[in-house]
């Protein structure tokens, strides 16, 4: 209720500053977008190229996947901005629980 209006209607908002901020934001988004396309291509190549064994390719694309998720969260879903501490907390807790689960499954069920 008290938090409904986060960014509108406030006369004190500095339009100039906003514009600059937005342009900067846009630049980051385009750079990460290009990077993400590139990483996707790399992933395809890593799997397709005969010279890489599966024991290299699988961990490698997993790493790429993590980088992609981070880009997605921080640049496209604005987790780099202020005011996202609570979502970040819950996100990382979820990752943590998921990680423990997978770790346990890998070690005590399918060891």
């Amino acid at each position: 209720m008290t938090n409904e209006q986060l960014n509108s209607g406030n006369p004190k908002v500095d339009i100039e500053y906003r514009r600059k901020k937005n342009a900067e934001e846009m630049r980051y988004q385009i750079i990460t977008f290009a990077l993400m396309i590139f990483l996707t291509l790399v992933a395809f190549v890593a799997v397709g190229y005969e010279g890489f064994s599966a024991s290299f390719a699988v961990p490698f694309i997993l790493v790429l996947a993590f980088v992609q998720v981070a880009f997605q969260l921080y640049y496209f879903m604005h987790m780099s901005h202020k005011g996202h501490e609570a979502p970040a907390l819950f996100l990382y807790s979820g990752v943590f629980v998921g990680f423990i689960t997978v770790l346990a499954f890998m070690t005590v069920i399918w060891w």
């Binding site: 008290t2 938090n3 807790s93 979820g94 943590f96 423990i100 005590v108």
Partner: protein
Amino acid sequence: MSTLAQKKGFGATIWDYLTTVDHKKIAILYLIAGGFFFLVGGLEAMFIRVQLAVPNNDFVSAGLYNEILTMHGTTMIFLAAMPLVFAFMNAIMPLQIGARDVAFPFLNSLGFWLFFFGGVFLNLSWFLGGAPDAGWTSYASLSLASEGHGIDFYVLGLQISGAGTLIGGINFLVTIINMRAPGMTYMRMPMFTWATFVTSALILFAFPPLTIGLFLMLFDRMFGANFFDPTMGGNTIIWEHFFWIFGHPEVYILILPAFGIFSEIFAIFSRKRLFGYSSMVFATVLIGFLGFMVWAHHMFTTGMGPIANAIFAVATMAIAVPTGIKIFNWLFTMWGGSIQFTTPMMYAVAFIPSFTMGGVTGVMLASAAQDYQYHDSYFVVAHFHYVIVGGVVFALLAGTHLYWPKMFGTMLNEKMGKWTFWLFLIGFHLTFFIQHFLGLWGMPRRIFTFNEGQGLDAANAVSTVGAFFMAVSTIILLINIIMTSIKNEKVGSDPWGDGRTLEWAIPSPPPFYNFKQLPLVRGLDALWIEKMEGKKGMTPAEPLGDIHMPNNSIIPFVMSSGLFVAAFGAMYHADEGNTWGIPVLIIGLLITLGSMLVRSVKDDHGYHIHKEELVDDDDKGVKA
């Protein structure tokens, strides 16, 4: 119940409750539904104890015993304890943080109806060919072999009600993060609100594993998959892991709100600030955190190997530390306080030794090597009843007495409350204390009868006698509730006289908008601070203005009923020669999806209560 409802006529009242999105009314729905299932589960418990009262009894058959035992555990955990906890979280938490409702009132109602339909579905199994019979844990090797539809009822019923619980948990989280009144920082939140917060986070992370486990089970049983069937390349242990990754946090989901309720009670009736508030918060969060790393202590005997057993044993024992912190803080809260032995306080005082005994046996069980002796014996049964009854149920009974005036505007009779308390306390220890020894003497859990002359006769008889004490105590509570409701003597905003937190600053029951003006919170125990400065109530944080309220809606009810219908289709379609299963499944899902569509397309902006109406309404508003 409330005078407002009585003026409306019976049909209108029912309609009002079917469509309500008010957190206080939803709390009453949870209380009634949870209370009903508590009685059902209690009846099942009585059947269990009667069957085990004497050796070689044939009160119920072996198969029926399995069904009763399974339904007792499942009902008590999922359909009684959980909704009753939700009842208090719904009724009190928004008031404690000074909010006018939860963040998503519509979802709140949806959560309730999903739980309700899931619970009804599960219990219909009694009338439709037999209840589930593989224990509340429903281990896959047992449940996949179970004939009939019992397990299907378990899987589908819990799936539906679990979705409701998850929705409720997320709703509470968002509410606490976003809707605290001005000045209500995290470290000024009452302990019960903190407990609600951590509990909701646990729900958020613990229910998805259950959902996945249930889905795998659903596909195994109803759609020919083989996730848990070792002869087909599956693995039956996976279910156990999924179940306990959910199951252990689940026991903390139950106990943390209980801790929260007791923290409020100790502070109120010792007329002292809760000792070590920040360490209490810390302990609560730590318990929630550690709760996710100990689930395999339920599986020490499945052959995980010594390393895994050792790790999980140590992690489990670690939980005793924050729990101990809490116990000492409660003791120090009472120390030097001016204690009033009201009914809620008596439960709180009795809770400490009772629960601690459960904690001690927990640490004994946590030692993997010892657990090989205790596992699947009555010792475990004694352990978890000491923590769940001595902790959770005591808290629910205490909370019922403490918050009844806030929810219904009238006080439960204290004299009868004390009768309930004493009979329950005696009955509880009579029933479960001796079960520790039954376990040590070699009585396995989940057996339907035992032979004469094994040294188990007398102890089992004692245990059954205790159960009757608890039954009588429950009946007295019911009489108390009925008599109190009939008399309906109205009380003011702070009926216990020593309320410390915001819920005691507004009338009992609160007006539907809760706070006419949002209160300004100046510290922990916001109301107490104002009282100490000689003020009558809270200082408002905003001028009197229009209040935005959500509209009632029947859509949550319809949406949940669709899943209820679909569940029947999913369950029966695999039967020999069944033709209507798939159509019913589709119709049910269409009802649900259709109502979701209506909800998304139809704009519902709610309405405003105008300032002028609020001014007239003076006797109901905040005493500012």
